[in-house]
Subunit: 370 residues, 2 copies
């Protein structure tokens, strides 16, 4: 083997290989199932919006054209949706691309550092490591609340990014807004606070728990949002950020010009217009969250309070453990998320399904744990 092929940067050599999850089809075949319920990836329980499906079919003939650089129509629509200036909106091939670019734009490898919780959304530390940027982490509290004072204490004059997810993944914990504002005010001058609000609109009171929804604007804060959850476009890869205008300017210079595909743009516009689907999504998720929380507690589980479209829980003491429960559910055609990859092998994460899917899950768990 030529060294040209295998010589890689040390940051890359240290990465572990990504292991793709089983698809619904593979699980159906493996266990001989007729139907499979997937409550593992925080996808929308209602499927794809009918208006989005119509837009995709209507614009399928455009697939041969390059997208328009800078996604101007989509940027305008997102800006109008949140009532902020279009110059502050950045869109990306999923929030993943935006996170990666924020690191690449701001962090000088070997000099700067980033700060985040442990566990947290894995893309923050992975992309930082790929970029050769030091990762500083503080554990979440035993009850999975986030102590922002401890987080701030990790930041120094070389900290350029601080990541906080609220509601947090995988716990669903919602950080009080006042604590976020205090964190932003307390950070060293070079540190930019990235508040990942991927799940913020599922909160019982979005205005009371989201900086963006509350219209609270701070000069060193970037808000991340996504079309993957309540807008139901996970497969099309569309994330966005509201950021200081000066940073937005650099974002667009650094982003690959066509990273957001042409159908994501059309689907995003249709999803923003489909207020009926979105309102129904929020209703189903909020009601499902209350029902599943009560149902699992009635079965003896410890359920962590969640404001997201998922809940985290521990199986009842003395019953089958998390790994066993996950496997037993798989055999019954229900996919949930084991949290071993988050370093939490004793816990499970369940994405909200429809009322019928939630009921089927509770019934299956009751049998498994009996």
């Amino acid at each position: 083997m030529s060294s040209a092929a295998v010589n890689v940067r040390p940051e890359i050599a240290g990465l572990t290989a990504y292991v793709p999850g089983l698809s619904i089809e593979e699980i159906r075949e493996r266990y001989g199932l007729e139907s499979v319920i997937k409550m593992a990836s925080n996808e929308n329980p209602l499927g794809t919006s009918p208006l989005v499906q119509e837009a995709l079919a209507r614009h399928a003939a455009l697939a041969f054209r390059y997208p328009q650089g800078g996604n101007p129509r989509l940027v305008q629509a997102i800006a109008a949706h949140h009532k902020v200036a279009a110059e502050r909106i950045a869109v990306g091939n999923g929030s993943d691309e935006i996170i990666d670019l924020l690191i690449r734009i701001r962090a000088v490898p070997g000099k700067h550092n980033m700060v985040c919780f442990d566990p947290c959304f894995s893309i923050y530390p992975i992309q930082s490591r790929i970029c050769g940027v030091e990762v500083r982490r503080v554990p979440v509290e035993p009850d999975f609340s986030l102590n922002l004072t401890k987080l701030a204490a990790l930041a120094d004059e070389n900290t350029v990014l601080v990541f906080v997810t609220t509601p947090d993944n995988p716990s669903g914990y919602s950080v009080p807004m006042q604590a976020l504002q205090a964190l932003a005010a307390a950070l060293p001058p070079a540190a930019l606070l990235v508040v990942d609000e991927a799940y913020a609109d599922f909160a019982d009171d979005e205005q009371a728990s989201s900086l963006l929804a509350a219209g609270i604007d701070m000069p060193n804060v970037v808000i991340l949002r996504t079309f993957s959850k309540s807008f139901g476009l996970a497969g099309l890869r569309l994330g966005y950020a509201v950021m200081p205008q000066a940073l937005g300017n650099y974002y667009w210079r650094a982003r690959l010009p066509f990273s957001v595909n042409i159908l994501a743009e059309e689907a995003g516009l249709a999803a923003l217009a489909d207020s009926v689907y979105r309102a129904e999504t929020l209703r189903v998720v909020r009601e499902g969250r209350a029902a599943l929380t009560a149902g699992f507690e009635a079965l003896g589980c410890h359920v962590y309070p969640s404001q997201a479209n998922f809940i985290m829980l521990a199986p009842p003491k003395g019953a089958m453990d998390a790994a066993g429960t996950f496997e037993a559910l798989l055999r019954r055609g229900i996919i949930i998320r084991p949290l071993k990859s988050y370093g939490l092998p004793h816990l499970l994460r369940v994405s909200m399904g429809t009322a019928a899917e939630n009921a089927a899950l509770l019934k299956a768990c009751k049998e498994i744990w009996a």
Copy 2:
């Protein structure tokens, strides 16, 4: 303005802002036109494949699901198409993402360098600069042929990537395969040769001009291909590479897990299956290239020999210059590509259209240059 928002890496501060081109709709409105012909972006003259459009409509309901990590079905189909091992196939959100990742995987900022021609596809040097990697360039020859001996002379023990596009953009020049093989053999041990064959299947004899089509395998060579041109999927963002297996392993570790969207995967599978559309595309492009080359030469232009789905030309001596010709065509509803951004303000690039579009362009140019 807080310094948190505006402090960026010096590599980012030096980037020029991307200026989006005018859309067809904007040009229609600006000049009061009923229809606009776009021959500017090397898109497929036949539009989107009917089988692809059908697949997009059929799978629109899947938009709410995350894509499957690693794109296994698409990887298998591409491997079968080219008769290579699936472990050697990498897919990305356009070839742009693959180019960026090759640099990030292999080049240590401040230590390694990359080598390419001037002019060349702008993403090679831009992404290298974003990564903080030294860019070494040698001018193309006056006739736009590529002197690979001069290119090899720029490489040293710190060269990790060498980029060659064949057929080249914007000239259409096709590099002899023997010269590419000699280049790969002559490079220092750490240098990986990336042969961008985005346009290779448009050659009159693909087998005679493409390393991939000829089945010539070298341990330090990566071949780039794309679904944007002959497969007609520019808007969906789908590029792929055939690379040494050891490098492919690192590629998948470093790639964002869901960067290729779920409809791109379905469309790619349908495009691979639609051999009728693809054969017709190749016929229309090859015949159009011969017709436009002859037509422009008959009008007194210098036309550079092309094996791609575009031709580069200089307007006739004494006639309206390239910039004026571009503007005059715009007013008539025909968009072609001025090459000022390539440092070639005296030249124009024309993407192949349908026979009717090609004829309309020749007629318009004849009038403009009269």
